[in-house]
Symmetry: C2
Subunit: 222 residues, 2 copies
């Protein structure tokens, strides 16, 4: 369902990125340190999910976070008190994080002291899927207000993914959104992908993080 | 607040695009036919806004729609019975529409018989802002579930915009979203930009399309 990118990235750009990603992957493998690349649209709730996840894992796992945005340090500011270490990368006009940027972010981290690294990519459901960052797993976050028809309209993200999260299921009573139709749409592209439902900002009821936390814990080797 | 794109697009790519856009702009100007480029995140409600807009303008304006997505013909299917003419462009993995694609779409339209053309760009708050399509106006659509902090995190879209729409204001009772804070965030990037609030899918109450329809009518010269 995918075709060539309309932007001619050039083999040299991707080859250079892949080389940097391979160096990062090698270094993290040596350390036994898993890295998750979190991708999704602007406003799907990546930062809120990280806030809730870090709160739930407090005292259990030491997590380093690299967070990307075109501009502002807002996401890092929200995560600073929750993560073991955080760095914000501003891409300027750039539509994704690249491997060199992530390597630069990780260079300032005490990697030996961490259990898990999460990269929160730039809010964009398309371009980040093309750029290997040296991560162990790619997770794509959708949210219910975006509509149940988005998976098959964005096959490139799903083709690269290891897991799908459907966030903001607490808004389902107010939205014309059919979870079964969403799951069927994911399966049109990748029938093998697990979809976990979460409600990251729900404070007065269960935010449904259990299966997601179990999945993350399964990556940790230390 | 913006910087250079991390993807080295190359002057040749943008120059070729700009040349195609200039040809489209010249042709539309000859015909006195306004063209609006609608940009925003996946799921911000661009297609729903077009559905409601076309319903409101039925019998008044003849509108042609070029709609872009990576894959599927879903948006064109939703708009087919409402617009005078619709064409769907699938970009494959491509993260934006380019001027040649739009020119190709318009080539099949009876332009002399239309009052307005709307291009619904690929769902992406970043890359489409860089590509001139030959349009008269760029409109950026945000939606309340995305969060009030998105404008200053996406300055490139706002720097290119002529108007901002804030969609899904009917969901405000269920969201931690402060409209005044959102407007202040837009003003951080572009204090001169108008922000119109809409609720495109609201059927039992006012969808608040009035000012938006007035803005569109103001572009029409026939």
């Amino acid at each position: 369902m995918t075709g060539p990118l309309r932007i001619p990235l050039g083999q040299s750009v991707l080859a250079k990125n892949d080389a940097a990603a391979a160096r990062t992957r090698g270094r993290l493998a040596e350390l036994g340190l898993p890295c998750v690349n979190l991708m999704g649209s602007p406003g799907c709730g990546k930062t809120a999910l990280l806030e809730a996840t870090l709160d739930a894992l407090a005292g259990e796992l030491r997590v380093g976070v690299v967070t990307g945005d075109l501009a502002t340090a807002r996401d890092a500011d929200r995560l600073r008190d929750r993560a073991a270490v955080v760095t914000q990368i501003n891409t300027g006009g750039g539509c994704h994080l690249d491997a060199a940027q992530v390597a630069g972010g990780l260079a300032g981290f005490p990697l030996e002291d961490l259990d898990l690294v999460v990269v929160e990519n730039v809010g964009n459901l398309i371009c980040p899927a093309t750029f290997d960052l040296g991560e162990a797993r790619k997770v794509v976050v959708f949210s219910t207000p975006e509509g149940q028809d988005k998976p098959a309209k964005h096959p490139s993200a799903l083709l690269a993914a290891d897991l799908v999260l459907l966030n903001k299921v607490d808004l389902l009573p107010y939205l014309p959104f059919d979870v079964a139709a969403f799951r069927a749409d994911v399966a049109l592209v990748r029938a093998d992908l697990d979809v976990l439902e979460v409600a990251a900002t729900r404070k007065d009821d269960d935010p449904l993080l259990g299966p997601w936390l179990t999945w993350l814990r399964g990556l940790v080797t230390r």
